[in-house]
Amino acid sequence: MARGAVNARGAGRGGTTAGPPRPSWRQRVLGENGLQRWVFYLPAAFMILFLAVPAALTLVWSFFERTTFWMEPGFTLFAYENFFYSARAVNYLHSMLHSLAAVVVSFVIGFPIAVFVRRRVPQAAQHRVVLLFILPFMISELVRVFAMRPVLGRYGLINTFLMDLGIISEPISAILFTPLGVIIGDVLSFLPFMVFSGFLAMEAVQRYIFEVCDDLGAPAVRTFRDVIIPLAAPGIFAGSVFIFVNALGTALVPTILGGPGAVNAGLIANQAIVALDFPLAMAISAIMIVTLVTLLYIGHRLFDLTRILEPIS
């Protein structure tokens, strides 16, 4: 046995014995059969640890019984009842509508910018132009949103400008502390998501496609509607989801720019926490998760979201 072992070691050193050379320790540890095979499981582990487990716990806790200061194990639908049979459900729907409006406005403004950058800006400069959209976002969101107040306010820049021009005689009060103010704030906060995702989505639309459309005499609107949008749909959808999720959950915008009692889904959950109603907060969070998963499922069925990850040929 000892001799056999000596022979095996000799072979391993690359002696004259036939057979493949034994991999070095580095190859064994880092190679295909080592850590490398486990690397593929990392995203899955990440998703389980930071998404699936918290989501599952949120769901479980939403059925717990509320106590004075915390909650205790049990099974009750009271938190859901409390949500659906109160004004919270109405607030939640309003919040979804405002978020949807922010998505639509962001698409109308952001996607043409992305198309323009892809089509008209020289390739070498494209990333720099996109970078220009990032720069304002280096500033804290709180500062950016708060800075909208002197612009949109009763005596803000817009009103002053319009009054100086004589277009209006009284300040317009509908652009701040209203749902419109919230939508403006959401668009200004999250527009880059649409520009970036639109920019990336446009990689799926090869330059020759534009040339073919031009050669065939297709009008610009028809090219945009029938060719560009279908090809870029997964990217547009991804950007829309980012905006929708943020507008639904970020409490800052309705707090600073919203009207009396303006809330979004994030604020509704937050208010439940402040009132120490943890099962209700969990139920609202669970409803948000279900909303978003449903949205992703619909998006996937319509646009096949895996196309976002496909290499561009």
Partner: protein, 393 residues
């Protein structure tokens, strides 16, 4: 620290001070040495005399390891009852009138030996006279908290624009000010103040504005919903700077708010406006903040540090400064005499201003219709549910 001092110069000064402190081994009077420093979890408004806690530490002759705390009841409850607050903190500050009951009932804080606080003899008589004020520092008859600051919240208004001094909450519902009124975005103080108004003006019968019954909550909220639908309110503000901003920008002419919001707004507006703080004949929501001793501090044997700081909170030294800087009501007697006898610390203008604030504050305290803040009203779920309806309206 006053919010209006949060400017570039203050930032640079703080940065320089922090750098110097790091280079010399720490901020004087503030250290985190286990057992030697009081581990204090408190809001920034609970200190006076310096931008950090050094003046408070020096006055108490202790070291303070400070952690910033928000005013959210849920945060304190979670940390102290469910979390590791007792391991982390020796003392914490919060609202009286609910929090001391909540924390004491859960064994998170311990009763106090007031004989170890020499300045306890200065405490306002109201704390010994029974009633809600006395209740705000007690649980089951035992003293669990030392009061630090108090106020009777009212309404700030632009006197320059209005041309008169409102003396009733009713002015907020006058149609000529449609769209120029703001309320605080917090169901506790807002519903209590509105209940005080509706009760005081005889519009709705409400037994106790601090602890309304479900049908009373409904009536108050329906009243607000009606006016919200008519466009009476411009916004419900949330956060200190937000509260200041709506007044200084001229967005609203009046807003229910904390007194420091009015003080800062007044300083910021200069000659553009004249932001005053009114006394409402129907009454105001009164409140106080208290400092409590954690059970963990008792187990660690550091109660003495707590008692020394509590003694500072009941000294006119603290009372005069919190009144001057933030407009909060002192919890001890003798502040006016202290201010008069310390001209080196308070100029003639300061003295006049402080005494004016104190006088107006005492006028608010004296209104018969006042009701105390109740952090956990009996029917809190109805408060929440109806507040959500008001938001949705």
């Amino acid at each position: 620290m006053k919010q209006h001092e949060l400017n570039r110069r203050y930032f640079l000064q703080s940065l320089a001070a922090a750098t110097a402190a790091a280079a010399t081994g720490g901020i004087p009077g503030v250290s985190a040495q286990e057992g030697k420093a009081l581990k204090l979890w408190a809001a920034v408004i609970h200190k006076v005399g310096a931008k950090d806690w050094s003046a408070m530490a020096a006055q108490a002759d202790i070291e303070i390891a400070y952690t910033t705390k928000s005013a959210r009841a849920d945060e304190a409850i979670q940390k102290m009852v469910v979390g590791d607050g007792n391991r982390l903190f020796d003392a914490l500050t919060d609202n009286g009138g609910g929090m001391e009951d909540a924390l004491a009932s859960q064994g998170a804080i311990v009763p106090l030996d007031t004989s170890r606080i020499p300045n306890w003899k200065n405490i306002l008589p109201t704390y010994d006279e029974g009633g809600f004020a006395a209740h705000t520092i007690r649980h089951e008859g035992k003293v669990y908290a030392t009061p630090m600051i108090s106020n009777a919240d009212s309404m700030a208004y632009d006197y320059k624009a209005l041309g008169f001094h409102p003396d009733s909450w009713g002015v907020m519902f006058d149609s000529q000010f449609k769209g120029r009124v703001a309320l605080q975005n917090d169901f506790g103080p807002t519903l209590t103040n509105m209940a005080i108004y509706l009760k005081g003006s005889g519009r709705i019968e409400i037994e106790d504005p601090s602890d309304m019954k479900p049908d009373e909550v409904k009536a108050v909220c329906q009243f607000l919903i009606d006016y919200k639908k008519k466009g009476q309110f411009r916004t419900f503000w949330d956060g200190f700077q937000n509260g200041v901003g709506i007044l200084t920008s001229g967005e609203v002419l009046m807003s229910s708010c904390w007194e420091p919001v009015q003080l800062v707004a007044q300083k910021k507006t200069g000659d553009k406006a004249d932001i005053r703080y009114g006394t409402m004949k129907e009454g105001h929501q009164s409140w106080n903040n208290v400092i409590m001793l954690s059970k963990g501090a008792q187990e660690r044997g550091v109660e003495d540090l707590y008692y020394k700081l509590a003694n500072v909170y009941l000294s006119p030294w603290f009372g005069a400064r919190t009144l001057a800087d933030l407009g909060f009501g002192p919890q001890m007697q003798g502040v006016d005499a202290y201010v008069e006898s310390h001209p080196e610390a308070f100029s003639a203008d300061d003295r006049a201003r402080i005494l004016d604030i104190l006088e107006r504050k005492q006028a608010r305290y004296a209104v018969a219709g006042n009701a105390w803040q109740n952090v956990f009203p009996t029917h809190i779920r109805d408060y929440q549910d109806w507040w959500a309806r008001l938001q949705a309206a």
